[in-house]
Symmetry: C2
Subunit: 221 residues, 2 copies
């Protein structure tokens, strides 16, 4: 077990907890205090850690994903979906209007997603947040972004390791979650660059005329 701990980076007490909870199958007994653990134990440990630590899944949700991994009748998509669908929260509601907009997008793109997809609900909430500050995202802009990510998804999923369902589910969760901050910060960098190019000298005339530092009364003109 100490070797398993070393190779996986998971502390021994945590491994014992997973064994007790039935998340990790027991090793093959080798004497009273020793057991043999194999690659499948390592694969499963890495999946559990990815689900719990990276994906933030609760123990009961980790258990459901492992059940899908172990269900030999489940397709690989069902295994991936069991993990992936729990990454977006379904706790908060979204407006009817935004949910309708998302449904229209999904229909138009002929996306095969669950009728109660947690990602669709999360998207509707994100649209609500833009509405709330008075900057609604036009449907054409939403569709433009959808096109970008549909194109990306083809490349992104092509490189998923399908050697084992554990490894595939782990990779799907890790990449989905941990690449998101990469994309978000790349977009910010690209905006920083673009702003430097486009707005290098531009200062609107009206602003020059109307600007006033905070404590100074408005100039009469």
């Amino acid at each position: 077990m100490s070797e398993l701990s070393q190779r996986s980076g998971v502390p021994v007490p945590t491994i014992k907890f997973y064994l007790r909870e039935g998340l990790l199958p027991p090793g093959r007994a080798a004497g009273a205090t020793r057991a043999h653990y194999e690659d499948r134990h390592l694969r499963r440990l890495r999946l559990i850690r990815a689900l719990a630590d990276v994906g933030g899944l609760r123990l009961e949700d980790v258990r459901r994903v492992l059940a899908a991994v172990d269900d030999e009748r489940a397709t690989l998509h069902e295994v991936l979906a069991s993990a992936h669908s729990r990454l977006s929260s379904t706790e908060a509601e979204a407006s009817e209007e935004s949910r309708t907009r998302v449904a229209r997008l999904v229909r138009k793109r002929r996306w095969r997603v669950a009728a109660d997809s947690s990602h669709a609900l999360a998207l509707a909430r994100a649209l609500d947040a833009l509405d709330a500050v008075g900057d609604p995202l036009p449907q054409e802009a939403l569709e433009g972004y959808a096109q970008v990510f549909a194109d990306l998804a083809v490349r992104e999923l092509a490189s998923i390791d399908v050697e084992s369902p554990e490894a595939a589910a782990r990779e799907a969760v890790v990449r989905t979650i941990l690449i998101e901050p990469v994309l978000v910060t790349l977009r910010r960098l690209a905006h920083e660059d673009r702003s430097a190019r486009v707005f290098r000298t531009r200062r609107p005339a009206r602003a020059r005329a109307g600007a006033a530092s905070a404590p100074v009364p408005r100039r009469s003109r």
Copy 2:
């Protein structure tokens, strides 16, 4: 002031706080208890709210952005950058290796970004997180994503309202922050669709052979 509160959606006590702090210029006095507020007050209030509520900026950072807005010598890029650069945290460090990778990307793309760009640091940290779980993002993949967001940034910044620096800074912050969850959830939806298409039936043979439900000992074959 109650009309200003109504039009901006900002409560009167909060407006009074902004006036006391010098974030909002005083209205033109109209008698002992009344003052006239104008469109520029409304614009500024909306900017302050966007910076504080959407962007999560601290009061001292809001103040710095407003100073850039009021500085007539500042270019529009300097105004936008004053707000935009504070959206990524600079608190945590990143590894030398990841910072070098980001610097290489910035050089290759000839991106015009600050030498100490907070977004560059945040990107390096995001790369570190992938390294930490043993799934480093290859440099070609990073460059592929960068290309996607460089293309998007051209369209995204073209539609920024440059009527006033307040409005432009507000829009830059609101769109950067509030569109991020839209993009992240669109990507998750696109992955859900793609997985349904690609992995509908595929279940690797090795997995079928090796799979075992958690509490069952390994089958002998």
